[in-house]
C-alpha cells in the first residue's frame, strides 16, 4: 500500500484496489497540511469539510464501479484559479474575501475527473513574483530548508507537492511560475502549450502568457493530471480547438535517436557550477539512453527578460484595472470622492510588486512610449519565436537548467527586483513563444537544495516532453528523494 506518499498513478491503483479509501487518504492529507502549515505556509485556504464530502462521493463512485479516472485523488489549486464557493484570493489583500460563483475550466476538468479539492495554495500576489514573498498571506517556505524560498509565483503548490502534502497541484506559469518553483523544490512542473488549457477562471496577470499547468512528482503524474485539465473551452477565445489527447500515451517510448538541442545561452558563465554539473550529468544520462545532443543558437533569447517585463507589465496594468473597489474586492473604509476611493482602495489592496508592475505597464503603454517599448517588445517576441522555430528544425527538444541558480534565502533578493527577474531568464522564452516545457529534478547543490532540468519542445510536444522526462525518471531517482522530516 503506497499510503499518503504514493504518486497519483499509485494512489489511483490503490483506491481502485480498495487498499485505501479516499476518505482515509483525504483525512491523512488534511492532517499533514495542518501540521506543515506553520512551517511551510503552503496553503491560503483549506476546505476540510468540502474535501471530505468529495472524498465520500468518490468512495461511493469507486464502490459502484462508475468512478472517473482520478476519483478520490486529493489535489490543491493555486489560489489564482476560481473555485465556486471557496474563496480565491490571488494572494492579495484586494481579494482576501472574494468568493467566485464559478469554477475555472481547469478546476471543472479536475472536479469531473473525480479529484478531491483540499484547498487553495499560497502564491505571489496576482502571480507576480519569483520567490513567493509577495503574498499578502505571508511567504511560503521551501520544504528542503525553511530559510529558503520555494520559488514563485506558484510557490505554495510546489511546496505542497514537495512536502508530500498532496500528490499533485495546479499552478500557472506566466514567465516560469510553474517550472522555477518545481526546480527549487525538487519536483516536476509542467507548463503546456498556450491554449491547451483554458484560461477561463484564471485571474489574469498577463493574458498572452498566462498558462495553467501542473505540479507532481513524476512526469507520469503530470500527464494524468494534464489529461483532466486540457481541452477546448468556448469561454476562452484563445483556447485551442484540438481533439482531446492522452498525454501519457508515449511515456514508455524509448529515447534512441532523440535529438537534444543545447542552446549555448543556457550554458554560459552565469550558471552556478552545481547547476551546470547536475545538468551535464543529466545529459550524460540521456546519451546513455540513446539520445544525441546538438548545439543550437537562440540569438535573441537574451532579450527575453526585458521583453517579458514590458509585455507582462503592460497587460497586467490593464488586467488589474477591474480591481477598483466598485463591485467587489477591497474598498477603502474612508474616501472623499470617486478618484480618492480608487486611489485608496488600490493603494491599500495591492502590494509593492503589483504596484511596481502596474506602474511599469502603464508607462510602457503611454502615449509617446508605446512604440519604443510595447511595440518593440512585440517585435522582439516574434524574433525569439523565430529563433525557437529554427532550433526545433535541428532537434526534438531543448534542454538546459531551469534557472541559473538554486533557491535563495528569504529576503535575499526582495529588495533587488531586477536580480530576481533575471532568475527567470531560461523559462520566459517558453511563455513568449507559447511552447511547452517541463522542469524535472536532476540533482542537488552543495547546500542540499534541488536542481531542475528544463526540457522544452515545440507547440503541442507535451506527450514527447513527458516521454523524455519519464524515461529520465526511470533511469534516475532524484524525484524519489524527499525533504527531511517528510516521509
Amino acid at each position: 500500500m503506497p499510503g499518503i506518499d504514493g504518486t497519483v498513478a499509485e494512489l489511483v491503483a490503490a483506491l481502485r484496489a480498495k487498499e485505501i479509501s479516499s476518505v482515509e487518504l483525504t483525512r491523512a492529507v488534511l492532517g499533514r497540511i495542518e501540521a506543515a502549515q506553520p512551517a511551510i505556509n503552503a496553503f491560503i485556504s483549506v476546505d476540510a469539510e468540502g474535501a471530505l464530502a468529495q472524498a465520500t462521493a468518490a468512495d461511493a463512485a469507486l464502490a459502484r464501479g462508475d468512478a472517473p479516472g482520478l476519483a478520490g485523488i486529493p489535489i490543491a489549486h493555486k489560489d489564482v484559479l476560481m473555485t465556486a464557493g471557496l474563496r480565491t484570493t490571488c494572494g492579495s489583500r484586494m481579494l482576501a474575501d472574494f468568493v467566485a460563483p464559478y469554477d475555472a475550466h481547469v478546476v471543472t476538468g479536475l472536479r469531473e475527473a473525480g479529484t478531491v479539492l483540499v484547498g487553495k495554495t499560497n502564491m505571489d500576489e496576482f502571480a507576480m513574483g519569483s520567490s513567493n514573498e509577495s503574498s499578502y498571506f505571508g511567504p511560503v517556505r521551501n520544504p528542503w530548508n525553511p530559510a529558503y524560498v520555494p520559488g514563485g509565483s506558484s510557490g505554495g503548490s510546489a511546496a505542497a507537492v514537495a512536502a508530500r502534502l498532496v500528490p499533485a497541484a495546479s499552478g500557472t506559469d506566466t514567465g516560469g511560475s510553474i517550472r522555477q518553483p518545481a526546480s527549487f523544490t525538487g519536483i516536476c512542473g509542467m507548463k503546456p502549450t498556450y491554449g491547451v488549457c483554458s484560461r477561463y477562471g484564471l485571474v489574469a496577470y498577463a493574458s498572452s502568457l498566462d498558462t495553467p499547468g501542473v505540479f507532481a512528482r513524476t512526469a507520469q503524474d503530470c500527464g494524468l493530471i494534464l489529461n483532466a485539465m486540457a481541452g477546448h473551452d468556448r469561454r476562452d477565445a484563445t483556447s485551442l480547438a484540438r481533439p482531446r489527447e492522452d498525454y501519457t500515451r508515449d511515456l514508455a517510448q524509448p529515447l534512441a535517436g532523440l535529438r537534444i538541442g543545447l542552446p549555448s545561452a543556457y550554458f554560459d558563465d552565469g550558471v552556478d557550477a552545481d547547476v551546470a554539473h547536475a545538468v551535464d550529468d543529466a545529459l550524460r544520462a540521456f546519451r546513455a539512453l540513446g539520445a544525441t545532443t546538438v548545439a543550437v543558437e537562440l540569438p535573441n533569447v537574451g532579450l527575453s527578460v526585458p521583453v517579458y517585463y514590458v509585455l507582462a507589465s503592460a497587460e497586467a496594468s490593464s488586467n488589474l484595472s477591474r480591481f477598483d473597489g466598485v463591485r467587489y474586492g477591497h474598498r477603502a473604509a474612508h474616501y472623499t470622492d470617486l478618484v480618492d476611493m480608487y486611489k485608496k482602495s488600490r493603494a491599500e489592496g495591492f502590494g509593492a510588486e503589483v504596484k511596481r508592475r502596474i506602474l511599469t505597464g502603464t508607462y510602457v503603454l503611454s502615449h509617446g512610449y508605446y512604440d519604443a517599448y510595447y511595440l518593440k517588445a512585440q517585435k522582439v517576441r516574434r524574433l525569439i519565436a523565430g529563433d525557437f522555430a529554427r532550433a526545433y528544425a535541428q532537434c526534438d527538444v531543448l534542454m538546459g537548467p531551469v534557472t541559473p541558480g538554486t533557491a535563495y534565502r528569504l529576503g535575499e533578493k526582495i529588495d533587488d527586483p531586477v536580480q530576481m527577474y533575471l532568475g527567470d531568464i531560461f523559462t520566459i522564452a517558453g511563455n513568449l513563444t507559447g511552447t511547452p516545457g517541463i522542469s524535472v529534478p536532476c540533482g542537488f547543490d552543495q547546500r542540499g537544495l534541488p536542481i531542475g532540468l528544463l526540457i522544452q519542445g515545440p507547440a503541442f510536444a507535451e506527450a514527447k516532453l513527458l516521454n523524455v522526462a519519464h524515461r529520465f525518471q526511470q533511469a534516475t531517482d532524484w524525484h524519489a528523494r524527499a525533504p527531511q522530516g517528510v516521509a
Partner: protein, 481 residues
C-alpha cells in the same frame, strides 16, 4: 468676412443582436438594473470575452452597404480608463485596424444638391454601463445592463458644411442602418447616438479650424440646434479676437446651448493596445459573399432605379427610401397604378404621409393599402373623379368607409362622386349659374378677371364638385367670350 463651417460626425449605432458582443447576456432594453449583466459584463476576475459573430456580420453588412473596404483581418484593442460604469477599467474597441474602412453615403444637401459624405471608418466596440446619479441620495448607482452591448462606431470625414448637411447625413445613415437591419435606430433608447465635430474657418481657407466635439445629440432637431449654436459661438469668439479651444462640449437642449465638458488638456491617455484575450478578427471571402447574398436592394440603388424608370425628382426618391416599408409601399402603389409614378409619389409623400403623421401611425399599419391607393389614383387618371374629389375619397378610405383594393370605387359609387361626363348637363349647370349670378358676370365683363374664378366656383358648387373643372373652364370661357 464670411465663414465656412466644417463638420464631421461620429455615430454609435447599437447593433441589433439578441446577445451582447462579448457575453451571452441579453441586450433587451428596459430590464431591471443589473438583471442583464453576466459575469463577463460585471468583469468578475478570471472571465474572458468571446466575440459574438452576429455583431461582426452586421458590420460586414454595413461595409457592403456603403461600398467600404472590409478588412479581412482586424484587431480588437483595449481603451483603458477608470470609470464606475466601465467594469473592466477598459473598453474593448478597435483602434489601429478597424473592421470597416472607407465607403460613402449619398445625401441631398439643401445648398449643394446631391453629394457624398465619405466615411473614414466603422469599428466594433462594446458599450459601457450607465451611472444613475438621481435615484440614490449622496451616492451613484451603476446599471451594467448596457455594458457590453455591441456598437458600430461610424466616423465620417469632415465633409459637411452646414448643420443641414449634417442632419441630412444623419438621417440618411439612420435610414440605412435600419434598412439593412443592423440597428433599430431608436434614438430615445440610445440605439443611435451622434457626436459632431464642428469647426469654422474663413471662406477660402485650406486648413481646418480648431474643432469642438459636441456630445449628446439624441435627436435630429437637437443636432441642428446644437451645431447652429456652436457655429455662432465659434464665429463670435474669433471675431471678438478670441481663439477656439479644442474641447468636448455638451448640448443642453433646455438652454439651447453647448457648454464645455472637458478640454484637450484633460483628455485621457487611453493606452490603447491589442486585447490579448481576443485573437485578430478574421473575415474570409465566403463569409462576405454569404452576407452579400442576403443583402436587400439598397436605398441608393432604388433611388437611381426610380429616377430612371419613373423620372422621380431626387428629393422624392430620397424621401421615399426613408424606410424599406415606405419604399415597398411606393413600389407596389406605383406598379399597380400604372401611368405617372410622380403622381403616386406625390400622394405617398403628401396625403398619405400627412394622414400617417396625424395618427402617429407606422406605414405598415396604414389604413389605406398601397393597392387601394393605386385604385384611387387610377380613377383620377381615367377622369372618373377630379383630384379635388380624390382627396375626399382618400379621407373616406382612411376612415375605413370601405376597405379592400377597390375601396375607392366603392366609395365613389356609394356617394355618387363620379365626374359629370355629359357636356350638355354641364352646359345646363353653367347656364343656370350665369343666370343666377348676373352681378358677377357684369363684373367680369367690366374687366375684373378674378370674377371668372368666382363663377367657376359657383358652377363647381352647383355640380357638387362632380363637374370636370377643365371642362367647366372651357364652357364658361366660350359662353362669356
Amino acid at each position: 468676412m464670411t465663414w465656412e463651417t466644417v463638420i464631421g460626425l461620429e455615430t454609435h449605432a447599437q447593433l441589433s443582436t439578441a446577445a451582447k458582443i462579448f457575453s451571452g447576456a441579453s441586450t433587451a432594453f428596459g430590464a431591471a438594473p443589473n438583471s442583464q449583466a453576466a459575469a463577463v459584463d460585471l468583469a468578475l476576475p478570471g472571465v474572458l470575452p468571446v466575440l459574438n459573430r452576429g455583431a461582426v456580420e452586421r458590420a460586414i453588412r454595413f461595409g457592403l452597404a456603403v461600398g467600404a473596404t472590409i478588412h479581412r483581418r482586424s484587431v480588437f484593442a483595449r481603451k483603458n480608463y477608470f470609470y464606475p460604469d466601465l467594469p473592466k477599467g477598459y473598453q474593448i474597441s478597435q483602434f489601429e485596424i478597424p473592421v470597416v474602412v472607407g465607403g460613402s453615403i449619398g445625401i441631398l444637401s439643401p445648398s449643394r444638391g446631391e453629394m457624398r459624405v465619405n466615411l473614414t471608418r466603422a469599428h466594433l466596440e462594446e458599450d459601457a454601463g450607465k451611472s444613475l446619479h438621481e435615484d440614490f441620495h449622496g451616492m451613484s448607482g451603476i446599471d451594467l445592463n448596457r455594458a457590453g452591448t455591441p456598437l458600430l462606431e461610424i466616423v465620417t470625414e469632415p465633409d459637411m458644411r452646414s448643420a443641414d448637411e449634417a442632419v441630412a447625413y444623419a438621417r440618411a445613415l439612420h435610414a440605412l442602418v435600419r434598412w439593412i437591419g443592423i440597428c433599430d435606430g431608436n434614438m430615445q433608447e440610445g440605439s443611435f447616438r451622434c457626436d459632431a465635430n464642428v469647426s469654422v474657418r474663413r471662406t477660402g481657407a485650406t486648413t481646418l479650424g480648431t474643432r469642438c466635439e459636441i456630445k449628446n445629440l439624441n435627436s435630429f432637431r437637437f443636432m441642428q440646434e446644437a451645431i447652429d449654436h456652436e457655429v455662432r459661438r465659434q464665429i463670435e469668439l474669433i471675431e471678438d479676437g478670441g481663439t477656439v479651444v479644442q474641447e468636448t462640449r455638451l448640448y443642453d437642449p433646455d438652454r439651447r446651448e453647448t457648454r464645455s465638458m472637458r478640454s484637450k488638456e484633460d483628455a485621457q491617455d487611453y493606452r490603447y493596445f491589442p486585447d490579448p484575450d481576443l485573437p485578430p478578427l478574421m473575415i474570409d471571402e465566403a463569409w462576405i459573399d454569404r452576407v452579400r447574398g442576403e443583402m436587400p436592394e439598397l436605398p441608393e440603388a432604388m433611388q437611381a432605379r426610380w429616377r430612371t424608370a419613373y423620372a422621380l425628382p431626387a428629393a422624392d426618391a430620397q424621401a421615399l427610401t426613408a424606410s424599406r416599408e415606405l419604399a415597398a409601399y411606393f413600389e407596389v402603389a406605383a406598379r399597380t397604378a400604372g401611368g405617372e409614378a410622380r403622381i403616386v409619389a406625390n400622394w405617398v409623400l403628401g396625403d398619405l404621409a400627412a394622414a400617417l403623421n396625424r395618427g402617429g401611425v407606422e406605414i405598415a399599419h396604414a389604413a389605406v393599402s398601397a393597392n387601394a391607393l393605386a385604385g384611387l389614383i387610377r380613377r383620377i387618371g381615367d377622369g372618373t373623379i377630379s383630384g379635388r374629389i380624390a382627396k375626399d375619397v382618400f379621407e373616406a378610405m382612411w376612415q375605413g368607409e370601405a376597405t379592400g383594393d377597390d375601396a375607392a370605387d366603392v366609395i365613389i359609387a356609394r356617394k355618387g362622386l363620379r365626374q359629370i361626363a355629359d357636356v350638355g348637363a354641364i352646359e345646363k349647370i353653367v347656364d343656370d349659374a350665369l343666370a343666377a349670378n348676373a352681378a358677377i358676370v357684369a363684373e367680369y365683363k367690366a374687366g375684373k378677371e378674378k370674377a371668372f374664378n368666382s363663377l367657376v366656383g359657383k358652377v363647381m358648387a352647383a355640380s357638387k364638385g362632380k363637374a370636370n373643372p377643365a371642362q367647366v373652364n372651357a364652357i364658361l370661357k366660350q359662353k362669356l367670350g
